[in-house]
Every structure is written in C-alpha cells, then in structure tokens.
C-alpha cells in the first residue's frame, strides 16, 4: 500500500502524510456515524424517533452538532491551570489516535507492523489516562477532580484483566504482532479465536508455523469467556455505561470535562469515540478474525481482482468494529450505572481471578498439545 501510494504520488513525504492521515479520516467519519448511531439507537430503544428534522430521518444531525461545537465559545476558567487545561484534550486524543498506528486495517494497510503490536496499543492507549487526569486536575473543579480520580482508578484497575485477556491469546499464538494474530485465524469463521482458534496448521505472517488441529475445540469455552472478559474490561476502560462513573452526568456533571466547551470538549468526545472503536477493533482482531471474512477467502481472490481483496478486508474489519460499537451503545441503553464498590468488586474479585485462571489453563493446554 505504501509503495502503491509512492508510485502514484511520487514523493515520499506526501505519501507518509497521507498514510498517517488515512486512519484520521476514517476515525472522523466513524465518529460522525457513531454519534448518529448513539442518538438514533438510544431513541429507538426508548420508543422514540430521535432527531428527525436535520436531513431525511435526521441523518445529518452529527454534522449539525459539529457545526454547533465549532461555533461555541472556547472557555478557559480563570482559576484553572491554563497550560494543562489546554493541553489535556490533545493528550487524550493523541493517546487514542496513536494506537491506530499499529492496527491492521487490512492485510495491505497497517501503519506500523510492530512485533509488539498488542503491547504498543495497550501502552499508548494508556496515555489517554494522563490526559484525563490533567483535565480533571487543571479544571480546578471538584466534580472534574472526582471524575478524573475515578476514571484513573477505573482504567488502571481494568487494564489488568483486559491485558490478561489478550495475553491469553498471545500465549496461544506466541506472538504480539496483530497481523500475525489475524493471519492465525484465517480460513473461515470456525478458525476465529472466539470459536477456539485455528483448526489446522497455519503459517503466520512472520513465517512461523502454528500447530493446530480440531482438538483445539477445548479452547472454545476458554476463549469465549476470555472474549467476554476482554469486552467487559474494554467497556470499563472506555468509560462507557455501565462503567461510566467517571462521567456520571447525574452526579458529577460529566466528570473531567465539566469545564470544557467548544472544540476542546469535542476533542474529548472524539477521543472517547475513537477509544470505543479502538477497543472494538482490538476485540475483533483478537477474537473475531480481524479483517478475515467469515468464509475464509475474499470475493476479490475468487474472481481474480487483486485490488478488491484489501478493500473487502477493510470492510470486514470496519463492520466488526462497528458491530462491537453498536453492542456498546446497546449496553449503554440497557444497563444502569454501577456503584464504585461494585465496579471494583467486578474487576478485582471476578475478572482478574478468572483471567489468571484461564491463562493458567490455556498455558498448560498449549504446553501439552
């Protein structure tokens, strides 16, 4: 893909810029769709119609929202720490966006095919927490402060089970490279990790061969539980309902971004939605075959149109990502908010023991098989 771009554009610099900006274009488009999805789905689930007056069925409502946010006054509270206050939204968004660098959007497009892919995504994603803390602290507002502290406590605790869940997949595949993990799930829906992983030997992108057979079905319940654990932790990490206690509109007036307005608020909003998509994409990469199609091959490969395959792969990944974002929205309008003690109970007493237990079992099984 990079060489293709270079051959079209001729210059390396321009190629790099475009190459880096592609995910941004995608994330922005996605955010618009997700915002619309959020308002519409919430409305439908509450037997309402949602926005109906901007465009047919209100489909350009998110654009109107963006326009509104652009016009809004950009307020910096006089008693805030100006430097940190203004920096925080960018740090938060940077954290979410930087993680997209290692996300393989298709077999041909990946910002950086890192051997430490999962590790990088996790590490960089955590920078967002710094932004949240900066925002909460510098706002000089007790609600923001509480929100930030809650959010940090929550994200730090839930990163453990989330990382552990992904570690289980890593134990199985023996690689942290996201592209490799996807390749390991090629060949059809039954080879996805959520269904127990590959059922026949596969050669990873790095050239290593992964031994597998139908005996892998023993992994099915383990990986299924792992997926549920990862998804729950991911929900908590993105501060989504039922884990939205850091934002908690009804008690904390939106938590760490209480004092933000206009485009700086929009940056937080974008970061949240980008994060949602990121964890959804990581879930689909680790458990649902990433850009692999459920039937194991692509129409492009079948009819012999080579350029079609990457496009299809991208569409599959986007579809899976959107699906999990949809489930997040669905959960948001289903469940009430947890209490802080329930949140901690769930993390430290349920998710962490279970993830460690499953990791042990999977490690043992991988060793003997």
């Amino acid at each position: 893909m990079e060489s293709l771009l270079t051959s079209i554009l001729g210059t390396n610099l321009l190629t790099t810029v475009i190459y880096c900006a592609l995910p941004l274009v995608f994330v922005l488009t996605y955010a618009l769709i997700a915002v619309l999805g959020e308002v519409k789905i919430s409305a439908w689930m509450q037997d309402r119609l949602g926005p109906m007056r901007t465009g047919p069925w209100g489909i350009i409502q998110p654009l109107a929202d963006v326009l509104k946010l652009l016009q809004k006054e950009d307020i910096t509270p006089s008693a805030s720490d100006k430097f940190l206050f203004n920096l925080a939204p960018f740090v938060t968004f940077m954290g979410s966006y930087a993680a997209f660098a290692a996300v393989p959007f298709s077999s041909q497009y990946i910002g950086a095919s890192l051997d430490l892919g999962i590790f990088y995504v996790f590490a960089v994603g955590s920078i967002g927490v710094v932004g949240l803390m900066m925002a909460g602290w510098s706002s000089n507002n007790k609600y923001s402060m509480y929100g930030a502290m809650r959010s940090v406590a929550q994200i730090v605790s839930y990163e453990v089970p989330a990382a552990m869940a992904l570690m289980i997949i890593v134990i199985y595949t023996g690689t942290l490279n996201l592209q490799d993990i996807i390749v390991a799930q090629g060949g059809g829906i039954w080879n996805w990790f959520v269904f127990g992983g590959p059922k026949a030997d596969v050669v990873l992108a790095s050239g290593r061969e992964l031994q597998a057979s139908w005996a892998n079905l023993v992994f099915l319940p383990l990986f299924l539980a792992t997926f549920v654990m990862y998804y729950v932790s991911a929900l908590a990490e993105t501060n989504r309902t039922p884990f939205d206690i850091p934002e908690a509109e009804s008690e904390l007036v939106s938590g760490y971004h209480t004092e933000y307005s206009g485009m700086k608020f929009a940056m937080f909003f974008m970061a949240e939605y980008a994060n949602m998509f990121l964890v959804s994409v990581v879930a689909s990469i680790a458990f649902f075959g990433g850009w692999q199609s459920p039937y194991g091959t692509t129409i492009g490969a079948l009819v012999g149109v080579p350029w079609l395959s990457p496009v299809e792969e991208f569409l599959w990944l986007a579809f899976k990502g959107f699906f999990f974002v949809f489930v997040m929205i669905w959960l948001r309008w289903t469940l009430p908010r947890l209490r802080v003690d329930q949140l901690m109970y769930m993390c430290w007493k349920v998710l962490i023991p279970f993830s460690f237990g499953i990791a042990l079992v999977v490690g043992f099984l991988v060793m003997i098989m």
């Binding site: 789905i41 439908w44 689930m45 309402r48 119609l49 669905w330 309008w333 289903t334 469940l335």
Partner: protein, 207 residues
C-alpha cells in the same frame, strides 16, 4: 462461595435479559409525535390563550378583580346619555366605553378564574397555545376596540360632559343655597312683619 458463582451467573443472565428487552424495543412502534407537522388533539376543556369577545363585554371589571395575578387591566369611561353602545347578545345594555382592555398573557397562569365571574360570558379560554413572541411586551394583548383618536375624542367629550354636569350641579347647588338663604330671609322678614303686624309677603320664593 456458591453465592459468588450464582452472582456471576445471574450477572451475565440478567444482562442478556435486559439486552433482549432493549432489542425488542428497537422495533416497536414509536410514541413520538412529530409536533409541528403532526399535532395532538387537545381535550375539549383545555385552558390556553384567553379570548375576549369585545362585542359582549360590558366593562364590569369582574374578570380583572378575579384574576389572582392582576394581568387584566381595564379602564372604563361612562357613556354619555346621548351615546348608544348597543347591547350584548345576552341582552344587557352596555353603559361603559373601554379605552383599555389589556391582558398580559405573559403573567397569566391559566387558572381560568377570570372566566367564571363574567356576567356575559364573553371572556373565554381557547385552545391556542402557540403564541411565543420575541419580546415580552408583545405578549400584552390589547382587546380594546377603540382607536387612540376615538379615545382622545371620547375622553374629551366625557370630560366636557362631566364639566357641564359639574357646572350644572354647581349651579343647582348655588340655586339651592340661594333659595335657602331667601327662605331664611323671608322667614326673618315674616317674623319681623309679624312683629310689626304686617301681613307676610307672598311673593317671596318658597322652595
């Protein structure tokens, strides 16, 4: 310990139950009424904007007195004996001009208390509720039917009439006073003539 596992099982199960419920609700018929395009039918006896039928209003001020927030302002002028204001549809004769009949609907609390005392049933609550304005002062409704010129003319006429009446009254009073004085004088004279054995003067005014 068994409680721990049943909790987890219940946790997962109830989330799934909740999700089925919300999923089903995505497809039920929506309750939203698309307001400006579709309007809900209002009940028969809704209390919304007031309307005053000035043809029937006799200016009795009952509604203004009943209003708990004083949003009705009525000024009246007595009609001259020569004026004919006609009568209401209920047959009451109208006796007052009304230069001012204002209802400040912004203050109105839609209690409907002004409606009941009206003797001619000319103030009533309609079902109109879409009357927002950009300025609060535009919410003061002027029901008075007289133009400013008419009001000035009428005021002057009434004042003139009043002055005439006052003058007449003053004249009458003066006359009365004069009569009294004359009577008193006559009485005194009579007494005097009686004393002088002179018959009383019958030409002196008596009343």
């Amino acid at each position: 310990m068994s409680g721990y596992f049943t909790d987890i099982k219940d946790g997962i199960w109830t989330v799934l139950v909740g999700m089925t419920i919300t999923w089903k609700h995505m497809f039920v018929k929506k309750v939203t009424i698309q307001y400006p395009d579709v309007k809900r039918e209002l009940p028969d006896r809704v209390r919304n904007r007031l309307y005053v039928n000035m043809d029937d209003c006799i200016g009795c001020d009952q509604c203004a007195k009943a209003c708990p927030v004083n949003c009705i302002t009525i000024e009246t002028l007595k009609a001259l004996p020569t004026d004919d204001l006609g009568s209401t549809s209920t047959g009451n004769k109208k006796r007052l001009w009304m230069p001012v009949f204002d209802i400040d609907i912004a203050k109105c609390c839609y209690c409907g208390l002004c409606v009941f005392p009206c003797p001619t049933e000319c103030i009533e609550m309609t079902d109109v509720f879409e009357f927002s304005e950009y300025h609060r002062k535009d919410l003061v409704y002027h029901f008075g039917t007289m133009t400013p010129e008419e009001i000035t003319v009428k005021r002057a006429e009434v004042e003139e009439y009043q002055r005439e009446q006052d003058a007449k009254k003053a004249a009458a009073a003066a006359a009365a006073a004069a009569a009294k004085k004359a009577e008193a004088d006559a009485a005194a004279a009579a007494k005097a003539s009686e004393a002088a054995n002179i018959p009383p003067d019958t030409t002196a005014p008596v009343s």
